[in-house]
């Protein structure tokens, strides 16, 4: 009996915590369907007739397909690039016996710890010189650099947990060194690869500071356009903002919840 009471108390506490964590996000989703008159009312209205007018307003003011495309290209581009660089690098470092491998792995981790402003100013000038400023490439290169560092680190620890004997056996069976990597080692670290990809994507999709300074109007992603939708206007912008936040928040939250197993495994190993 006492045990069941304790259980009930525990579950109530968990439910309360979940309410606190979810309510603000649910409120945001509601705002998107709230007519602006209801948003501005004092005291705040609790009930309203849902409308799609906010979506119509942002569709009229913004080139929505373009914004979604930008967000998508930036996330996909930097994720692909960092996996392409990071997986082989992590593998090579994990299979090298020299001490310098561990040093390189730690150095890459340290680079991720540097605040973005340090690199952002010189990077801005660098991209200007290369003529890439304002293009998707500028942001993709910037994000891919930070993400490569952490993909490498994650794959380094994942590959180290795979016994070398498996690859040795694959080589004896006639695989090339690359074949052993692709056919024997890579499938065993699949979970880590998906987790790393997911975290790269989340990082790039939610990133604000880099694209805010490195993109132009035609290449900016949703996260940057959001602030424009809100426009600093304290009352009229909230409906637009809610509608816009829908587009920027729901896809990434949906992906995260669907692939929660991988996300948790990535997050709890300290990569984020």
């Amino acid at each position: 009996m006492k045990r069941r009471q304790a259980m009930a108390v525990q579950r109530t506490a968990i439910c309360l915590a979940l309410c606190l964590f979810l309510a603000p996000v649910l409120w945001l989703i509601m705002t998107a369907y709230e007519p602006s008159r209801a948003i501005q009312s004092t005291p705040p209205a609790l009930w309203f007739r849902p409308t799609l007018s906010n979506f119509a307003a942002i569709a009229a003011n913004f080139n929505l397909p373009r914004l979604v495309l930008s967000s998508f290209m930036l996330s996909a581009g930097s994720t692909l690039l960092s996996l392409l660089f990071g997986i082989p690098c992590g593998y090579a470092l994990a299979r090298t016996r020299s001490r310098s491998a561990v040093f390189i792995a730690y150095a890459l981790l340290a680079i991720r710890g540097v605040p973005t402003v340090v690199t952002l100013i010189p990077f801005y000038l660098f991209m200007q010189k290369l003529g890439l400023l304002g293009t998707w490439w500028a942001v993709i290169l910037m994000n891919a650099t930070l993400s490569t560092a952490f993909v490498t680190w994650m794959m380094f620890s994942a590959f180290r947990a795979v016994p070398v004997e498996i690859e040795a056996a694959a080589v004896i069976d006639g695989c090339t060194a690359f074949g052993a990597f692709r056919r024997a080692a890579l499938p065993l670290v699949q979970t880590s690869v998906i987790a790393a990809a997911l975290l790269c994507m989340m990082f790039a999709w939610n990133d604000f500071l880099n694209p805010a300074f490195l993109t132009r109007a035609e290449t900016r992603p949703l996260s940057v356009a959001l602030l424009t939708a809100f426009g600093g206007n304290t009352t009229s912008g909230w409906g637009d903002l809610g509608a816009m936040a829908h587009l920027s928040t729901l896809p990434i939250v949906a992906v995260a919840l669907l692939l929660n197993r991988y996300l948790v495994s990535g997050l709890t190993r300290g990569a984020h």
């Binding site: 082989p88 690098c89 680079i111 540097v114 605040p115 690199t119 660098f126 604000f208 939250v253 300290g270």
Partner: protein, 284 residues
């Protein structure tokens, strides 16, 4: 196979970092290009004696200490609540991913709207009941920083809870069972057995959160923009303002390099302290 990644990082991260260090010893403002000249460590000494920067540093340190402490404590409570492995707890742990995944800029804006004194669902009632100052929690210099701390805690407590939960689940159950049989109470088990064995997870949360909270930008930028006054003006906001909005590249670089040094020192200190603790516990 490591070469492409290393070269990529060297070109696009190391080179800009070195350029940044280079800029920081010059007087270099893109708005006044005729004033460019080498000034040695002047930018650094200026930054360290600038009262605005000192204030920013104090705000950042308070923000970091408060956020990390609260996130560790609340995260540990949540992890202990979710420890038992059942369906309810698994679903709850998954739903906790939501605050972590929501775009940080959106997080800042959500709370800015909710806490607005005239139409915010929370802010209006708080003001009506005189529980918040008339300008709202984010509009008053006395409450803005504490409110931003609460927002960061809202966003990141789930992360620390998830990491600590993974740590709890990997504890060997035989030791815990033995302690329970020996008659150790819940408190004694937590303090003497669980926490010492959880040091690696606690250490991970501490390092991750300290280095990340110290460079918070998005949520504060979206919610208050550093104001009211300069009550929430974190170092990261100051550095971005100087370097990327006023184009005072030399000064902005100096501030951000000082930030990097501070982060490195804090991370090193945490690692040293925890190593010491680990040794003491494993010795006894």
């Amino acid at each position: 196979m490591a070469a492409p990644a290393v070269i990529h990082v060297a070109v696009f991260a190391l080179y800009p970092i070195l350029r940044g260090i280079g800029f920081s010893v010059f007087r270099m403002n893109l708005m006044q290009p005729w004033l460019h000249r080498f000034i040695g460590l002047r930018n650094y000494t200026d930054a360290l004696s600038d009262p605005a920067i000192r204030h920013s540093l104090a705000v950042t340190l308070i923000f970091t200490a408060a956020c990390v402490t609260a996130e560790l404590a609340l995260g540990l409570c949540l992890a202990l609540l979710l420890w038992a492995d059942n369906r309810f707890n698994r679903v709850a742990a998954i739903l906790m991913l939501v605050p972590i995944t929501v775009t940080p800029i959106v997080v800042g804006l959500i709370f800015r709207a909710l806490l607005d004194p005239s139409f915010g669902q929370i802010g209006y009632w708080l003001c009506a009941l005189h529980l918040a100052p008339p300008q709202g929690l984010l509009g008053d210099t006395h409450t803005a920083l504490a409110t931003m701390i609460a927002v960061d805690v809202w966003e990141w407590t789930p992360l620390s809870a998830l990491i600590l939960l993974a740590g709890l689940k990997s504890l060997p159950s035989d030791i815990l069972d033995a302690a329970a049989i020996d008659g150790a109470g819940a408190c004694a088990r937590l303090l003497r057995i669980i926490l010492p064995m959880m040091l690696p997870s606690l250490f991970l949360v501490l390092v991750l959160r300290v280095t990340d909270v110290f460079r918070t930008y998005d949520i504060v930028f979206a919610a208050t923009g550093g104001g009211p006054g300069d009550s929430t003006n974190l170092l990261m906001l100051t550095a971005v303002k100087q370097g990327l909005q006023f184009f005072d590249i030399g000064y902005g670089s100096a501030i951000s390099i000082l930030m990097t040094l501070a982060i490195a020192i804090m991370a090193a200190l945490i690692i040293l302290v925890l190593r010491g603790l680990d040794r003491r516990y494993s010795a006894s």
